[in-house]
Subunit: 338 residues, 3 copies
């Protein structure tokens, strides 16, 4: 039941098309660009009076949220419904696992109901990857955030936002500011920016909120905002994940805001046409000043809109890639039989 495969190729089918979306890592620039181009075809739909396409009609998308996230679940649910899929929301914690069933049995049961895609949110790093490689490889697995590891659809909607406002990635300087250490979003953004060819990816944070091996990811490291923001085209603020902060990594919220909070004053270090992004939900007065969040350089609410289109793109591409893989496997089997 578990196919052998090159781990690098887990996300792509035999024709090189997306079949799972687990991490930005290892994905070629062409696939990321295809996601952005596909999202482009959906983004205008949001403004139309009929926002629906029949691409996934008759397909079943299951939202498996092992970790609670109303907002991310809502965007995936809307994306799937606007593709005309049937959507099932399952809170796995309260499900049969409580009856002593293993996670493998639960997921294989859901697969047997002819699920086409699982949208997986999990507090453990690697959960989505494990499901795709070991449990249900024939269901398109979409990683909606796993532990500190990755949040690839968030990163792609951020890339979409940047491309929409800046045209291309070539020559762009992007600063990611804040709690890099605990941020799965930051890891995915760095990988995407490097793959798509940004000129420079900077991280700006106090040393206590930086992973040890951060330079290995291909970034420039800054600990002072004045230098980190200098002449950048894009500032991505991260949420100060107060609920994830264990121990005394920070002096105080006030001190953090004074040093790393994005204020109108600090924003003047960046280019005049800089755009300000944030994955949300924002902490006003903690990592960002309201005047910046609501100001003319902010594209934070556009990110939300683009998030639906980007998730529509990933859902339709990955279910399509799985369908193509089934055909490829069948024709290969027929050739072998002849």
């Amino acid at each position: 039941m578990i196919p052998e495969h090159d781990p690098q190729r887990l996300q792509l089918n035999d024709a090189g098309k997306l079949r799972h979306f687990l991490t930005i890592e290892d994905l070629p620039c062409e696939i990321l660009t295809e996601i952005l181009d596909t999202a482009e075809s959906f983004v205008s739909m949001g403004e139309q009076s009929v926002k629906k396409v029949p691409l996934l009609r008759g397909k079943t998308v299951m939202n498996l949220f092992f970790e609670n996230s109303t907002r991310t679940r809502a965007t995936f649910e809307l994306a799937a419904k606007r593709l005309s899929a049937d959507v099932l929301n399952l809170d796995i914690k309260t499900s049969s696992t409580a009856k002593g069933e293993t996670l493998m049995d639960t997921l294989q049961n859901l697969e047997a109901m002819h699920a086409d895609a699982f949208v997986v949110r999990h507090s453990e790093s690697g959960a989505a990857h494990f499901i795709a490689s070991q449990i249900t490889p024939d269901v398109a697995i979409i990683n909606a955030g796993d532990g500190r590891h990755a949040h690839p659809t968030q990163a792609m909607l951020d890339m979409f936002t940047i491309r929409r406002h800046k045209g291309a990635f070539e020559g762009l300087k992007v600063a990611i500011v804040g709690d890099i250490l605990h941020s799965r979003v930051a890891r995915s953004q760095i990988q995407a920016l490097n793959t798509l060819g940004a000129a420079a990816v900077r991280v700006v944070a106090p040393k206590t909120l930086l992973p040890r091996d951060i330079e290995a990811l291909g970034v420039e490291v800054y600990t002072r905002m004045e230098e980190g923001l200098k002449d950048v085209d894009v500032v991505i603020m991260l949420r100060l994940q107060r609920e994830r902060m264990h121990g005394a990594l920070l002096p105080s919220e006030g001190e953090y805001y004074r040093l790393y909070g994005l204020t109108q004053e600090k924003l003047t270090y960046a280019r005049p046409d800089v755009i300000v992004m944030h994955p949300g939900p924002i902490n006003r007065g903690v990592e960002i000043e309201s005047a910046v969040a609501d100001g003319p350089r902010s594209v934070i609410l556009q990110q939300v809109s683009y998030g639906i289109a980007t998730r529509m793109a990933v859902l339709s591409m990955a279910t399509g890639g799985q369908a193509q893989q089934r055909e490829l496997s069948q024709s290969m089997q027929q050739e072998n039989n002849q």
Copy 2:
């Protein structure tokens, strides 16, 4: 982002059509009649084998229930689905607001997902009005009950029920009986009956369950059932909101039932063709006798059926009014640019 407007006109667009439905107050008779007429076109649908129309196909309706109400949520969910809308149920209490996000940010995020309508239930009076005027004026806001203030779709389904059974409002005498003090339903009913031209609106309650300024609403006040029910065409019983009763406003449930419970005997004071209504859920033996609730004069279950049709009418009219407003604003802008 927040348009300036005459508060009286908040619910109507520049062409005088409904764009929000927050309160019966201030709405002209023509709009209320348009709601009833539109509901009429939907009410027969419930009896057809296919109960669905494509009016809101591709539109997104979000149920934002800050206060729990399975029944009201179910009727709005069904109404939206029978209009072919995509529906998202959001329990806002457990959502990102727990992560420190402001209500404004949460709602503007949902708007950015291209929501067409928010159905809002909230324990604070004025919540729906605040959202429509200050937060997301371009989303159609439907008030599904706010504090003690208003429950306008309930009032309109009651008006629909009365018109269906009595033909017109002219000459009608209507008695509203029970806990007027705590009832948002009663306030909305009184306003609707007066706007639609009922001959007399009576309230019947012990003094402890009457607001001080009740006469200002344009009602006749009675404290004895024998007098209050005399010759009325319609009796609307209110639920004894035991969960909202703080302090000793009532001697006892038994005493309340003896004085104000609607029994077959007390019903004889009314006209022989009286209809008995109740917004539900009913407390049998507390404010109404089972023989009356289940008897030939009761239209309580019809009210539920009409509730779907009335909510379909409000949803389709308000989303239509918002779409029209967008067109009006665009053409005004184009004229200004020429």
Copy 3:
């Protein structure tokens, strides 16, 4: 409102077609076969790229789960959505019943919203039957498990699985193994196998897990696996319902597994082409060995797939039977009026 009827005929309309699905008991072989044949037409759909038919378009199916069951709810929700019905999930416990409303009022309110089918799961035996006979006879009631009484859609998907793999019931020997005493599934399976003409239905269990009057159901009773499994064509393992075991009915889980757990070794008593079934969720190492559950004779995951098709069959047949009954009643009334 409550029609009088022969209790034997409660599940069938005046033309002999299914209108409720409450129990296998009393249903003729033709109806069971019609369910299997209808499911057959749906089962291939799961493998198609578009898994949807418009049979219940515009119909409303309400899932009323008084007892929690994520898995069963999911299969009914998917079945209804693949039939194009609108689906409403209602957690009745947290609903208006908390406000003092009676169950009768809650259900009649839901009926008044023009529900076409209620899928009812309840911890009390007879709940679905009571609703169909006493509360809302015109809504198609589908029993999704009531107390220890019945779980007829589970039994029918099991019958479907057997017929798919064995062709017919004639001549088949079937063993049901485990906690017969607490199992509503077992009762329904025994009735279905006898009605459909299986050659022998065996139950295999320790005496403490057998009902006293078990022989009256038309089964052969075995307390030793070697004898009970000898030459059978089908083994149905039951879940050891640990959460329902009150008191000391069993020595220990280890002892139970040694005596009644289905291992590869014990399976050799059965016919070589035996199929192994289990209603799920399975307890690995408690009532079944992993090597058997995942082995070549296991059809456990196919059961899940067939479960969707079987529930689609029951939902479409019962709502069709109710629609037909309405027509029959109307034409009968017209004849009486002439």
